[in-house]
Amino acid sequence: MSTKVEELHGGGALPLRIRNVRKVYRTGKKGVEAVKSMNLDIEPGELITLLGPSGCGKTTTLRMVAGLETITAGDVFIGDTRVNDLPPSKRNVGVGFESYALYPPLNVRENLSYGLKAGRRVADPDKIVDELADRLEMRDLLSLRPASLSSGQKQRVALARALIRKPPVLLLDEPLGHLDAAARQHVRRELKLLQRQFGYTTIVVTHDQLEAMTLSDRMAVMNGGIIQQYGTPDEIFDDPANIFVADFVGEPSINLFPATVVRDGGRTLVRVGADVLEVAARTATDGAEVMVGLRPQDCHGKGVTKGLTGTVFVYEDLLEHGIARVNHPGVPDKPLVIQTPAELQLSPGASVTFSAPPNRIYLFDKDSGVRIR
């Protein structure tokens, strides 16, 4: 045991494995299963995100890895060490949680160097603090006390404190949530660059799909205590496993509407009202009622004569591109959203015909929501 625990303090990045982990909260006689048999493999130096709506089990998972929450069943390994029974301090994980937990009487520099010095000798803590403060654009905060910081500034300090010890495993809960838009982008890029540079094995919890897409090497999309899909941002965006993933990731969000499958020799088509679209799915059965997923960003109208034809209901010119909402007779209850190139200006009432590449039109089982490939 003791030799294995030493592994956690060796300094190098470590893999992290979550095996059949469950978490049940007991309230009286009833149990609530917050995390249901979860499996996750994280490579050394990899940054993954747990993405999902509130209540999906993402923070609970993170807290179990950190040791702040007991594990009902299953195992968590950091390197080869099973850490289920180790207290948080022995796991040597860097933790940045939403509640910032800074020491009020210490100024920011002292808060940071305190974290740095805990348990070891450091030759020149001030230099390390200064360098990190430059990277996170918070040099001007160093002499301030936590009480005088805004929530965004506190968050930056909490992030810096988690990063500064260069822990082998870094756990971050909504690290950018309180930052304004411009600061969020900057800190997001720096976080990823620092993570690349120092090679922390990192888990980030977020409910923000854009944050997950931009930060992740791989991302686990969660709902109802279950991982719906685990993959690279490319795989998640371009090859969603089910309706939940397709709908949760992407902004503006994917169009979802019912259609009927038509097998035509080797081709698969879907009929939407009077229109048909060619799709790439090969296992769909003729006549099946399915849900179609079509991303606004994948729609194009140039040179398209066969596709969906509808009437523009609203057009928004965002200069870099436009967003049109189009009423289609085959999709009665809501307009279809399409993203249009800047040079195309549309007016309400205009008729448009658009389509998408067959491999960008996804079919899902109407009942289970599972992707039909």
Partner: protein, 386 residues
Amino acid sequence: MGTLKVRDLTKTYGSTTAIDHLAIDVRDGEFFVILGPSGAGKTTTLKAIAGLVEIDEGSVEIAGVDMTQVEPYYRNVAMAFESYALYPQKTVKDNLASPLKSGRHHHYDEAERTRRIADVTKTLGIDHLLDRLPKELSNGQRQRTALGRVLVRPADIYLLDEPLSHLDAKLRASMRAELKSIASRSNTTTLYVTHDYQEALALADRIAVLRQGEFVQIGTPAEIWRSPVDTFVARAVGQPEINLVDGVVRGGKVRALGGALEFPAPAALELPEGKEIRVGMRPSELVVHREVHDGGWLRVTGRIRLAQRLGRDVELDIEVGDGHLIVIDRADASHEEGQQIELDIHLPNVHLFDGGAPDEHTARLGSAVGRGAAPLPEELEEELGE
């Protein structure tokens, strides 16, 4: 009739000046958006126009009538606050009827009320929900009902204070479109306040950019985009925000990024030797290696430091010379971190600003080819033959 003319509008709180000599002219039927960060004075401006705060100086004229000394009640404006509530025990119809039963509008008879409610709910697409209670509505329907409570009142001007800010991103986008549709059909005069530049671009006939209680620029969305008066306005529209790199005039050339970015100083700007300037380039207007070179283009080489996927697009952080640039490209091309790439820069899209300290907002001088405004993205796309 629904015009608004504001002059020298000033409000101080103790020694803090919240808004400072604002002048606004909103035309009849116009959708006018005030865009600014939190604390800029947006809400104070709306409240001052509505008469809800006592102003220190200035005048407010609504529909041609001086309302400066008039009680809010009689100004004939309808104002919606950031969070507006519905009566939980009342149906949609009764929620909409209540503003018509009180105060100035109590003289409406049943038939007139029913007609107004029918009009507004039809416009908002909630006319089939009149007998539902708020708890039986979706979030979007509730939001529309709340908006309906504002719009059902006849008013010369509608004042909307960040009405979408409490919605999640998806609902916000669809409600923004709803508002756009309502505004274009109903021809109401609207003064709308937001910190979200996409809302401003999507909705506004004109945008006023507010900073620390002063308007920095007033113009159409296209004017704000192509000819921002200073770095503050340039940064206020567009995500990721505009790249700003420091440069200097040397030997008739503008040099930045350690010499990696160099182009002739535009003669029309008469930039003196040694002048410090700031070069602005929008991430979506930088182009990753295309076979387009008709003059007016500048090619620089760099190395991809980070590639971050943003939906269909990818955001590249590219090391160029001694600095770096953020660039948006389509995700279907391959982008490996560490890869060398060539970046094509369309000089008319390069903004030049005065030099200054990092946090200083400095004035726009022109573009890399002269005094004029930059082309719009649609013109750049045409230039690229896309």
